[in-house]
Subunit: 412 residues, 2 copies
């Protein structure tokens, strides 16, 4: 079963919006055994949308579109689909009632433009958009299917999970029998090319239908084994086992789970808590650690000490220490970690201090220099890293290094 | 001048990686007067890449690809392009010297796989990838052009800025004379459909060649006027002026600049500083405020008080107050803002406390309830918001509300 995604909207093609929908949808489709063949982003333009639909249907049995379903004039997807499927807009009583209920306490939304949202194509199956006014539409084209969703990410996600994926399963459009298997390991501390040499025999011995991909990002390489229906679970597991053995020295995770989730799981398992003291990472490490539901069980808080006065007055770093060693130093970052651990009464703490640039670098401590310390019940360790040249890259990589270090300490 | 982007990589189609490159490239191309017509994401698969190239060249004069240029076996773009352009790989002395210099202090990277990176297609023009081993390749096809870049975002960005955009300009592939004009306003506090009714006469009076788009996100609607060579700067400005007047009651910004940048600019202009005390936003507000270079001029730091003990012990919230009113209350969030302002010695402070869910909601304070306080030299204000049902959405919207409130106070 092959699917394609068409994302519709000028905003995607002038760079005003990053398409985060497609990756999320791709993951969900894969889980249901549906292979995503291509993603295409097109303008809010009639001929362009129609050409993209024709092309997608020439390659795939299932086409999903997002975008262009708002009540404003720039959104034309619904009308274009009416023409494409030779149908017309009719008022849908159920959609009307749903939208009127949805905005019952917001009379300013229930205006004549919103009323156009309960006009739907006559020959489409309408699924309920629980959280928005744009109807979810399903069209049949011979033995193929088109599913149309709004482009607002949270509306799309709720629509997919509550309506569309169950509908596809019901319509036998998912194919759990020909399982798509993806298994991912995460490694660090080895360059991609060295890793590929290490795995050369492994790769050469892989059967047809098994694929190995290397995904380097922020100092971590995700190694993914994929099979599109050719291998059984047991066969896949045997290959995963071999890969785990070969990468033992560099492996930090046996899944694609984000590192902050792995750290959180280990902390929860031992009933331990963590705090952070952040200079160059500026709150990003905190945001990662409390990103997922349930993080209040282990994540206590953070002191973001961007200015030196905060390091001195809140994190107890002596002014003389900063004068003697600089804020980006082992001494300072150790005090930051130990102090925040005491201040917030946690079992563990991580501190970061670095030069994110573009200014502030010196010959001894160039932009990209980052000190990280980990305070634990058993003592404190610290390490210096050189994490590149770009501000965003440096702060992202520093977060990853901080989490990798924590994970290693917790797995000791 | 029309361009298309082809992003190559299985990781995009199984949802393991979000394509952030395309939006960034789209923006840069637009600035140079190049219209991006379509974005296509394809597998690391020979036939698929070739089909995508053929289709893109049938629509556009310039095609840019990212991805598939690593030294590992899963990356096949370079070899496929050799076949597509009927050429072969040859060793490039300059690329070899560059890569050897780049990794001079990392002998583990200078292995035989990395050596394949200085094999380049004989008839391609090679541009220098200053920060990585994958060569940047330019191919000519009749009067059209193909530009190939690595998919690693920071390598792509440096390549575009330092090499490819200047090269396109030099090759007369940019067309500054037929200027693409985009102008964006940001409004808040009005539903999209109401705004569209408000702007109905405006839209109906717009000339051919002028487009208005509505981009709602996290409670803010960006209104974008676009012209692809049809309007002069002065004509565009006249339409922008009209739009500004019509949206005066809701307008918070006259550009597409992120709100944190606008807040930062106003703070810098008056030499003022800011701190944050964050519960439900968990460091995201801090990370936004210090995201851009130069933020150390106004951003002092943050206390992320995820656990109540941190609110009590670091932010001075009395335990009785939490018992009497709950942590998500006007009383608590006011103390948080005022205390962090004092603790960090700043002029302004923002505090957030809310229920991000999925658990923790009550009938009186359901998931999505967020209190925000703004402490200023003139006093403290606070406001309660209901920001939806999804954890991620609630925290993102809370950050936007916090910044909108700050912006309004600074613009008073």
């Amino acid at each position: 079963m092959r699917a394609e995604i068409i994302t519709i909207g000028d905003e995607l093609l002038i760079g005003q919006v990053v398409d985060t929908n497609s990756a999320w949808m791709a993951e969900r489709l894969n889980e249901q055994g549906i292979e995503l063949f291509q993603i295409t982003s097109v303008h809010d333009e009639r001929a362009h949308i129609i050409a993209a639909l024709d092309e997608a249907f020439s390659r795939a049995e299932l086409v999903l579109t997002t975008g262009g379903l708002g009540p404003t004039k720039d959104d034309i997807t619904k009308q274009v689909l009416c023409d494409y499927f030779h149908t017309r807009l009719v008022e849908d009583e159920q959609v009307r009632l749903h939208i009127q209920r949805l905005y019952a306490d917001r009379p300013d939304v229930l205006n004549r433009l919103t009323a156009t949202q309960w006009q739907v194509p006559e020959n489409a199956t309408i699924l309920e958009n629980r959280v928005g006014s744009a109807p979810l539409m399903v069209f049949r084209k011979d033995d193929k299917m088109l599913v149309c969703m709004p482009g607002v990410p949270y509306e799309m996600k709720i629509a997919m999970e509550e309506q569309i994926l169950p509908y596809l399963e019901h319509s036998a459009f998912s194919t759990q029998h020909s399982a798509i298997l993806h298994r991912t390991l995460q490694v660090t501390g080895i360059p991609e090319s060295r890793l590929a040499i290490l795995l050369e025999n492994f790769e050469n011995s892989m059967p047809e239908g098994l694929h190995l991909a290397y995904l380097p990002k922020d100092g971590i390489i995700r190694l993914r084994l994929s099979s599109y229906g050719d291998l059984t679970e047991a066969e896949m597991q045997a290959w995963v086992d071999r890969l785990q053995t070969l990468t033992a020295d560099y492996r930090i995770a046996d899944s694609d789970q984000p590192l902050e989730v792995l750290v959180g799981e280990r902390l929860k398992a031992r009933g331990a808590t963590i705090a952070t003291a952040e200079s160059c990472t500026g709150g990003r490490l905190a945001a990662l650690l409390n990103r997922h539901a349930g993080s209040s069980a282990f994540y206590w808080g953070s002191v973001v000490s961007y200015d030196n006065s905060v390091k001195e007055q809140v994190l107890g770093v002596p002014a003389e220490m900063i004068r003697a060693h600089g804020v980006v130093s082992e001494e300072v970052v150790r005090v930051m970690a130990e102090h925040v651990r005491q201040l917030l009464h946690t079992d563990y703490a991580i501190a970061t201090s670095g030069i994110a640039g573009p200014s502030g670098g010196t010959p001894e401590k160039p932009v990209g220099t980052v000190w990280i310390a980990w305070a634990t019940p058993e003592g404190t360790t610290a390490e210096c890293f050189h994490l590149g040249h770009l501000r965003e890259q440096i702060t992202e990589r520093a977060c990853m290094k901080a989490l990798v270090g924590m994970l290693k300490l917790l797995d000791k």
